[in-house]
């Protein structure tokens, strides 16, 4: 029960920073979303030891482990686009499929290659 309350409080705390981020983003007409701004604020507070890791860790871990849940309502939104999906669905799918495979392959290969290159350069092994 205590853990539950702790997680709820920490989620509210994280939410607060997302809202602050939203406000800043609105005031200064920043193109970045509020949650990314909130992320950097929390990161700064942790870095300068204003905030202890234990003050946000439980809530953050909970949110991250259940993150797929938060995508589900937007995925259900697909039923609003019946016409578009019927007309262009297979084209959308081909683009997304091929592009995702390309992006993942290139990113993975470039990362792996540069890790090995760096390891050789420094004469050490990277795990």
């Amino acid at each position: 029960m205590l853990m539950f309350l702790r997680i709820v409080c920490q989620i509210c705390f994280l939410y607060l920073f997302a809202l602050v981020g939203n406000m800043l983003s609105g005031w200064f007409h920043l193109p970045v979303s509020g949650s990314i701004i909130g992320l950097f604020i929390i990161l700064g507070l942790l870095h300068f030891k204003v905030l202890k890791l234990s003050a946000v860790e439980a809530g953050a871990s909970f949110l991250m482990s259940e993150m797929l849940l938060f995508f589900i309502p937007s995925a259900v939104a697909i039923i609003q686009y019946k016409d578009e999906i019927l007309r262009h669905g297979s084209q959308f799918l081909v683009v997304i499929l091929l592009s995702t495979i390309t992006v993942m392959t290139v990113t993975g290969v470039v990362a792996q290659f540069s890790i090995h290159k760096l390891a050789k350069h420094k004469g050490e092994t990277v795990k």
């Binding site: 939410y15 890791l53 797929l68 938060f70 939104a77």
Partner: protein
């Protein structure tokens, strides 16, 4: 009332599909694929409007915001590793973001989608709120972009581990970057299944992909439209 029932059912269906997935571990049974199918059939079956469903669903979608803020935790925990590999991470992410934008454009041209859809597809590999912002910025349709982001998430969730196996990617950092770059938050949740270091790399990739795309998309879009 309907809002509350919708939240309850969404959580219930999510929870059950997660249980099934944890038993069977078959990629196509991912909760992100199964739960929306079940829920949208329920909406159609019971003649419930999406807007009514979303009056509750919105509450769950909104939790994505504190979740993104929460990514500060893995980033903070692994800051030393990140610093050590800053160069690798920058190179991989710059390449990843450019390839994401350009390949979405090229494949859209190949399947002959019009420019409206093409522009909505360009920012599909980054986290929803920023993808929608980029979509508006370059002249796409933000709601369509949100759908493409989700479909990308599902695709990446299923294909990511296969690509990692097929390409023999062994380094945790490379696995995380691939998943976070290719499939934003959904990929990151998959990376967390691999381990905490992969998860941290994926969180970083997700955040950097969003920021790089904000900068690169307006620059690359005119070239892609040529």
């Amino acid at each position: 009332m309907i809002a509350f029932i919708c939240i309850l059912f969404t959580v219930l269906v999510y929870y059950l599909s997660k249980k099934i997935y944890s038993r069977i571990k078959y990629a196509f049974l991912s909760p992100l694929l199964v739960a929306p199918c079940v829920l949208s059939s329920m909406l159609v079956g019971f003649h419930i409007d999406y807007s009514d469903y979303d009056s509750g669903g919105r509450w769950l979608s909104n939790l994505l915001q504190p979740a993104v803020v929460g990514f500060a935790v893995p980033l903070y925990k692994f800051r030393k590793v990140m610093k050590k590999y800053a160069k690798i991470i920058t190179i991989s992410m710059t390449t990843g973001v450019s390839v994401a934008l350009i390949s979405s454009g090229i494949f859209s041209h190949i399947v002959k989608l019009n420019d409206h859809y093409l522009l909505s597809l360009l920012p599909r590999s980054i986290t929803t709120p920023i993808a929608m912002a980029v979509s508006v910025d370059i002249g796409g349709m933000p709601t369509m972009t949100a759908i493409f982001v989700i479909v990308t998430g599902i695709t990446g969730l299923i294909l990511g581990p296969m690509i990692i196996r097929y390409l023999h990617i062994k380094e945790k950092l490379a696995k995380g970057l691939l998943l976070g770059m290719g499939a934003h938050g959904a990929g990151t949740s998959k990376a967390l299944e691999f381990g905490s270091e992969e998860g941290a790399a994926a969180s970083l990739a997700m955040v950097l992909a969003a920021i790089f795309t904000l900068v690169f998309a307006p620059i690359l879009t005119p070239l892609i439209l040529l």
